[in-house]
């Protein structure tokens, strides 16, 4: 039996605060920590669950609910309950796909992508993620009884710069120092690399709720390197649910489903999918409709996804320069790999069944915890972790073409330098447009930042030399510098992350959250005292009326005056302490009166009875 509180002794030193590993998933999130050399997941939700649904509910009174309770509220408040928000991390408005079954209200106007919810202003995906991280942090705190400040957070290998930046900012907003962002497959590899100590080439097949990643890894002498990554940041169990729900809508001829119907149907689809992993045939009922679904139906509905998965796997193998046969094992990650059909796909692609020695749902969090543990310093075994950038990074050149400075799958940290020159005589400025992607035309790539290098001295075209330096740090985050070599003029480069929140905004949001925490406490204290004062006043007035005979005229006047004073104070004061004192004073003044009422009541009860009856 846990459930009991222990007394902490401040004279004894605290155990060092552990750094947590967080799997911030599309459908659910986990937190793990290494204790006594072994990683384990922590209880973070009701029913001793180690899995926290990545669902955030914003209620009308301004409070925020995260996890299983929030998920339950999704039925009742589909528009105020945000799920799978990871899909929108670091995305701009134009990239928002108006999915047929997404029931969220997009906040109107310009600015970053945000959702309208009740109980407050619109929230960005970053802020929603921060709520999930905050919940994980607080619950890890409670589970470990030690303060949590540092974390390693996993991201899909395919996350671009803006998405990584948004994830890191969400961590900061939640009050976490993000030690490192780790690619999800890399985390899984770390969990396997340390625990099974295998050598050779491996594939990590990660099919979660919202993302698919395939990574090719090479393990040698305890050092492992991610050779290639590929995938699809919009493919996962959610899409299977959507496909199933759409197929059912079609089957039953339901047109224009309400938000409530959509949520209920999506949930039914998920349940159906999970049941079909255990059974071969499942009966489903929805409103007045019903159907019997067999595994072959499911296979048919999700078949279109196989092509995309197969394509990504083939591309990763090609990038790594390997054939299917050279992959020794395939590590399965993500809840969707529990589906028999998906396991069948893996066998079809790689010619061998996948492994799940470590729970596929926990392996990423466990790996992130190991990474966090290693970064904290107190470790014995040195593990060198090499990671790669998922997409090429480059610049737009004249004519809108892309010049790649860092090709896809370069190992990070990485640096690259290239010299550019002016195009026109006397040109004094140069626009530097940083893009990410594989396309040749810059407009087809993702725009990361644009800035202007000014103050180039006038000279003939082609003489100025502008050096552009790209640096990708260990988190996969990019910084860019440009310098005119003749004069040494250097441009301070402020890369505006595309999710639309500047550093200052984030600082402001962090500060605001602290300021409001205090305000909230004060307003709560005051409101509670006001309620108490009103209750006391109402009770006093009632009793004064009911028991006027027990009061002398003098007493009645002074009590009346005192209560008038309290009423006046109630209207004017903002100080809970003052109000409390006034209530206590009135209470004290009324003591004699109260005692007489008590005696009177007892006497009236006793009247007409003899003592022996009691």
């Amino acid at each position: 039996m846990s459930g009991l509180l222990q007394i902490r002794d401040p004279q004894k030193p605290l155990p060092p605060a552990p750094a947590i590993g967080v799997d911030l998933g599309t459908t659910h999130s986990l937190v793990a920590v290494v204790t006594q050399g072994k990683p384990s997941c922590l209880v973070v939700d009701e029913d001793n669950s180690q899995v926290l649904p990545s669902v955030v509910h914003y209620s009308a009174n301004g409070s925020v609910v995260v996890g299983k309770y929030a998920k339950q509220l999704a039925f009742q408040f589909p528009e105020d309950t945000l799920a799978s928000v990871k899909r929108f991390m670091g995305k701009s408005r134009s990239e928002f796909e108006a999915k047929r079954l997404a029931s969220y209200r997009l906040a109107p106007g310009e600015g970053p992508l945000a959702f309208q919810v009740s109980g407050g202003p619109a929230v960005t995906p970053l802020e929603v993620s921060a709520e999930i991280l905050r919940a994980l942090k607080q619950r890890a705190h409670a589970a470990l009884s030690s303060k949590i400040t540092q974390a390693v957070i996993s991201v899909p290998a395919y996350f671009d710069n803006a998405q990584r930046q948004a994830t890191q900012d969400a961590g900061r907003l939640a009050g976490l120092e993000v030690l490192r962002l780790i690619n999800e497959p890399t985390a899984a590899a770390l969990a396997y690399g340390l625990q099974s100590k295998k050598q050779g080439c491996f594939a990590v097949f990660d099919l979660g709720g919202g993302t698919f990643d395939i990574s090719i890894l090479k393990l040698t002498e305890g050092i492992f390197e991610v050779k290639a990554t590929a995938g699809d940041s919009a493919l996962g169990g959610d899409d299977f649910d959507l496909s199933i729900a759409c197929a059912l809508l079609e089957k039953w001829n339901i047109e224009n489903p309400t938000p409530l119907q959509r949520q209920a149907l999506l949930s039914a689809a998920r349940q159906l999918k999970e049941q079909l992993s255990q059974e071969t045939s499942v009966d489903i009922c929805f409103e007045e409709h019903s159907a019997t679904v067999v595994r072959d139906d499911l296979k048919q509905w999700i078949e279109p996804f196989f092509k995309r998965i197969n394509f990504a796997c083939k591309r990763a193998l090609k990038d790594a320069g390997l054939a299917e046969g050279e992959i020794q094992e395939v590590v399965l990650v993500g809840g969707s790999t529990r589906m028999p059909e998906v396991q069948h796909w893996v066998e079809k692609i790689f010619g061998k069944p996948g492994l799940w020695e470590v729970d596929p749902e926990k392996v990423v969090a466990l790996g992130a915890a190991i990474q966090a543990h290693l970064l904290c310093g107190t470790h014995d075994a040195e593990v060198l972790l090499l990671d790669v950038i998922p997409l090429s990074l480059g610049l737009e050149t004249m004519g809108g073409m892309t010049e790649k400075l860092l090709p896809r799958n370069s190992t990070i940290p990485a640096r690259a330098t290239q010299t550019f020159t002016t195009f026109k005589d006397g040109q004094s400025g140069m626009e530097i447009h940083v893009v990410q992607g594989e396309r040749e035309s810059a407009k087809d790539c993702r725009s990361l930042a644009k800035f202007h290098l000014k103050g180039i001295p006038p000279m003939a075209a082609g003489l100025a030399r502008v050096e552009v330096r790209f640096a990708v740090d260990a988190n996969g985050l990019l910084s860019v510098e440009a310098q005119e070599l003749g004069t040494g003029i250097q441009q301070e480069v402020a890369i505006q992350p595309s999710h639309g929140l500047s550093e200052e905004t984030i600082e402001r949001m962090i500060k605001a959250s602290i300021v409001h925490a205090q305000e909230d406490i004060f307003s709560r204290l005051l409101i509670e005292q006001q309620i108490e004062a009103r209750r006391v006043l109402a009770e006093l007035h009632k009793q004064m009326k009911a028991h006027a005979d027990l009061l002398s005229a003098e007493e009645a006047t002074s009590l009346w005056e005192a209560s008038k004073q309290l009423e006046a104070l109630l209207e004017t004061t903002q100080e809970a302490a003052k109000l409390r004192q006034a209530v206590l004073a009135l209470d004290n003044q009324a003591k004699g009166f109260v005692e007489r009422i008590m005696n009177h009541s007892i006497q009236s009860v006793l009247q007409g009875h003899s003592m022996t009856e009691f």
């Binding site: 009991l4 002794d9 009701e46 619950r139």
Partner: protein, 115 residues
Amino acid sequence: MAEMATEKTVHITDSAFGRLQKLLAERQTPSAGLKISVRGGGCSGLSYGMEWADAPEGDDLVFERSGVRIFVDPKSYLYLAGSELVYVETLTAAGFRLNNPNAKANCGCGKSFSC
């Protein structure tokens, strides 16, 4: 009107009183007290913390039973008023529990609740 006169407190039950007295004696700090606080955190939103303190701090409220003292800061008191502290010993575990009338939901880990 009787209700008005009763000041809510944090009550130290017999079991907790005995245990606290013993622990204080073992720690050779009979004058110290037990600081109980409520913080954000835990799976139900709020969680309890307990630690030894040499003296009350700031506006701490003090609840005493025959020399054994409990300190509660005013913010935490909002959530703790009317609670009773009990000490529980079972075959597998021993520790304290707060029976808190303010708590609407308690969680499995026992360290956390919501109001």
